[in-house]
Symmetry: C2
Subunit: 429 residues, 2 copies
C-alpha cells in the first residue's frame, strides 16, 4: 500500500470505510484491555514467588554484622543489601542508602527536603521566587507530577536518540540560577527505551550550573532490564564520571527492585556522594528510625548476589521480549510505509514510544478507549500533560497476555490509521 500522504481523497475515503468496518467489529467484542501503565504481568510476578520461601520461622534473621533485622536500627540499610544494590547500581556500598519500597517516594522526599530545608546549606526553595526543572521530553509523567505539585516551573528539553539535547541543557543551566534540577531516565528511557550515549553522560558530569544547588535526578529505573542477552545498552556510571570530572556532588541516583521482584514490595536505593549523603541523612534521621530490614534481608537471601539477579532478569526478559516483538511486528505489518507514524524498538525497559502525525495522539487514544483498549493518556509524556504536537503515545506492552496484546495492538493500529486519514482528509478541505 502506498503512503496515505500520497493518496487521493477518494482513495482515503475508501480506505476509511474499510477500516471503520473493522473497528466496529472490534467494538462489538466489548473488550477491556489495559496497556496504560508499566506493570509486570502475572508470569513475571510468579518468578519472584521463591522470595516468599527464603525466610521462615526457623530462619536466623541476623545480619553478618550481628544486626537483628527484626528490631529497630540501621538507618542506611543492612550491609548485605547495600552490597547487592551496590553491584546492581555499579556503586560503592558506602555511597548507598537503602530505603523503603518506592524510589519515587525518595525522589518526592528529596524535592520536598530541598523545598523546606534547601540543598547542602543553600536557601530552601520555598523561599525563592521561582524554581525551575529541566524535563527531557517525552518523559515520565510521575516525575513531572512531583515537580508540578511543588509549583516548580518545568522547561521541556527535547530528547534525541542519544539523550537530552545537551547543547540546550548546558546553556540553560549555565545561564539560569533558578534551574535547580533535571529529571533523567538514562537507560531504556521512559517512554523511548533509548539509553544516553557516552558523550551525553560525559557532558552531564561536566555541567557548569549557575545554581550551586542544581542536581541531576538520575532515575536509573531500568538498569537491569535488558530484553536481549547479546545486545544490551551500556551506560557510563554517572557517580564515577562526576567524581572524575571534579563534580562529585552533582548527581542523585535512584533505583529500586520494583520491576525486579514485586512492584510495591521491593527495596529502593539512593547512591550519591558523601556530602549529599550527609544532607539526606540530616532529614532521614528525623523522618524514620529505619526502613524494612526484613525485606532487605529477604531480597539478599533470594538473589544471593548480582549474578543471581542477572539470571533472574533473563527470565523476565524471556516473558516480555515476545510482547515487545509482537508490538513492533504489528506496527510494522500495519503501518510501515503509510507515513502515519514512527516508533522505537528498544533493547530494554518497559515501553515503546509511538509518534503519530501531529494532532492525532489524543484522537487515537480516545478511539482506542472506545474500543476497550486503555492506553496511557496522550500528553502524559509532557509536563502539565501538554504535548504541543499532540503526537506522542507511550505503549506499555508488559501487562497484557500475548493474545490480549495482539488484539489491543491491532485495535491501536486501526485507530492510528483512522485518525491519520481523518487528519489528512480534513487538511484537504
Amino acid at each position: 500500500m502506498k503512503p496515505y500522504s500520497q493518496m487521493t481523497q477518494e482513495e482515503l475515503n475508501a480506505e476509511l470505510v474499510q477500516l471503520k468496518a473493522q473497528y466496529k467489529k472490534y467494538q462489538a467484542l466489548g473488550l477491556h484491555l489495559d496497556m496504560s501503565r508499566g506493570k509486570p504481568c502475572q508470569e513475571q510476578l510468579d518468578l519472584s514467588m521463591g522470595m516468599m520461601d527464603v525466610l521462615d520461622s526457623s530462619s536466623d534473621l541476623t545480619c553478618e554484622d550481628g544486626t537483628d533485622c527484626r528490631n529497630y536500627g540501621q538507618l542506611t540499610g543492612i550491609q548485605e543489601a547495600r552490597e547487592l544494590l551496590g553491584d546492581m547500581m555499579e556503586n560503592n556500598p558506602k555511597d548507598i542508602i537503602i530505603y523503603g519500597n518506592s524510589s519515587l517516594n525518595v525522589m518526592f522526599d528529596t524535592i520536598s527536603r530541598a523545598w523546606t530545608h534547601g540543598v547542602m546549606g543553600n536557601i530552601p526553595w520555598c523561599k525563592l521566587d521561582e524554581v525551575k526543572f529541566l524535563c527531557p521530553v517525552p518523559g515520565y509523567d510521575r516525575h513531572f507530577a512531583i515537580t508540578e505539585y511543588f509549583g516548580i516551573k518545568m522547561i521541556p528539553v527535547p530528547m534525541t536518540p542519544t539523550g537530552p539535547d545537551m547543547d540546550m541543557v548546558e546553556k540553560l543551566v549555565r545561564e539560569d540560577e533558578s534551574i535547580k534540577g533535571i529529571w533523567c531516565v538514562p537507560k531504556y528511557s521512559n517512554p523511548q527505551g533509548i539509553s544516553y550515549s557516552d558523550a551525553t553522560v560525559r557532558r552531564f558530569a561536566r555541567l557548569e550550573p549557575k545554581a550551586p544547588d542544581f542536581r541531576i535526578f538520575w532515575d536509573n529505573a531500568y538498569g537491569m532490564h535488558h530484553l536481549y542477552d547479546h545486545q544490551q545498552d551500556y551506560l557510563i556510571e554517572i557517580l564515577a564520571e562526576c567524581k572524575r570530572a571534579g563534580n562529585p556532588d552533582l548527581v542523585y541516583k535512584f533505583s529500586s527492585t520494583s520491576k525486579i521482584t514485586f512492584p510495591g514490595s521491593g527495596i529502593a536505593a539512593l547512591a550519591t556522594s558523601p556530602n549529599n549523603m550527609e544532607d539526606f541523612l540530616s532529614y532521614l534521621r528525623k523522618q524514620t528510625i529505619g526502613h524494612d530490614k526484613v525485606n532487605q534481608l529477604r531480597h539478599v537471601r533470594f538473589f544471593h548476589d548480582i549474578h543471581g539477579m542477572v539470571e533472574h532478569m533473563r527470565k523476565h526478559a524471556d516473558i516480555i521480549r515476545p510482547k515487545f516483538e509482537l508490538v513492533e511486528s504489528i506496527l510494522q505489518r500495519d503501518l510501515e510505509g503509510l507515513d502515519v507514524g514512527t516508533w522505537t524498538c528498544p533493547l530494554g525497559g518497559y515501553f515503546i514510544m509511538f509518534d503519530s502525525l501531529p494532532g492525532c495522539a489524543k484522537d487515537i487514544v480516545a478511539r482506542a478507549k472506545k474500543a476497550g483498549v486503555v492506553m496511557t493518556n496522550a500528553g502524559a509524556t509532557w509536563p502539565y500533560g501538554m504535548d504541543p504536537q499532540d503526537s506522542n503515545i507511550r505503549i506499555a506492552p508488559t501487562y497484557p497476555s500475548l493474545q490480549d496484546l495482539q488484539t489491543a495492538m491491532e485495535i491501536f493500529s486501526l485507530c492510528v490509521r483512522i485518525s491519520s486519514i481523518k487528519k489528512l482528509l480534513a487538511a484537504m478541505n
Copy 2:
C-alpha cells in the same frame, strides 16, 4: 532508713562512702547495658516469627477484592489490612490509610506537607512568620525532633496524671493563631505510661483553636500494649468524639504494628476525617504508587483478626510485665522513703518515668553511663533537650534480659542515691 532530707551532713557523708564503694564494684564489672530506647527484646520478636510462615511460594497473594498484592496499586492499602487496623484503632476502615513501616515517617511527612502546601487549603506554614506546636512535657523526643527540624517553636505544656494541662491547652490554642498543632501520646504515654482521662479527651475534641489549620497529632502508639489482663486503661476514641463534638477535622490519629510484630517491618496507619484524608491523598498520589501490600497481607494472614492480635499482645505482656515489675520493685526497695525521687507504675506501654530531685537527672544518667548502663539522655523528654528542672529520666525496661535489668536498675538506684546526697551536701555548704 530515714529520708535523706532529714539526715545530717555526717550521716549523708557516711551513706555516700558506702554507696560509692558499691558503685566502684559495679564499675569494675565493665558492663554494657542499654536501657536507652523502647525496643522489644528478642523473646518478644520471636513471638512474631510465625509471620514468616504465613506466605510461601504456594500462597495466593490475592486479596478478597481480587487485588494482586504483588503488583502496583491500592494507594490506601488493602481492604483486609484497613479492617484489621480499623479494629485495632477503633476506627472505620474507610477512614484509614495503611502506610509503610513507620508511623513516625507519616507524622514527619504530615508536618512537611503542611510546611510546603498547607492544611486543607490554608496558607503553607513555610510562608508564615512563626509556627508553634504545643508539646506536653515530659514527652517523646522523636516528636520534638521533627518540630525542631522544621523550626517550629515548641511550647511546653505540663502533663498531669490525667493528660496535658487542658486549661492551658484550651487557652493557648484559642488565643494564638500561630499554634498549629499539639503532640499527644494519649494512651500509656511516653514516658509516663499514663492515659488521658475521659474529661481530657472530651476537652480535646472540643478545642476552639484560633487557627483553622490547627490539628491534634494523636500518636496512639500503645493502644494495644497492656501489661495486665484485668486492669487496663480505656481511652475514648478521639475521631468519634471529635465528630460528636462537631469538629470532625480536628485530629490526625497515627498508629502502627511496630511494637506488635517487628519494629521496622510492621505496618503503619493513619485514621482521620474524609476531608483530612483527601488532603493526605492529594500529596500521597504524587509521592508513591502504593505501600508494601505483601507485608500488609502478611500481617492480616498472621493475626486473622483483632482477637488474634489481642492474644498476641498477651504474650508480649507476659514477657515484659516482669520487667516493669522488677524496675518498680527495685526502685521501691532502694528508694522508697528516701525522698529522692518519684516514679510511675504504668499499666501498659514501654516506659516508666522517674523524677529525681531537681538538678540531678543529668548527673544520674552520666554516672550510670560510667558504670556501663546507658539510659535515655536526661533532657530528651523535653523540647530542645532542655528539662528546666533537670529531673526527668525515662526508663525503658523492655530490651535487657531480666538479669541485666536487675543489675542495671541496681546501678541506676545507686546513682540516684549518690547524686541526691551530693546535691543535698552541696546545698548545705
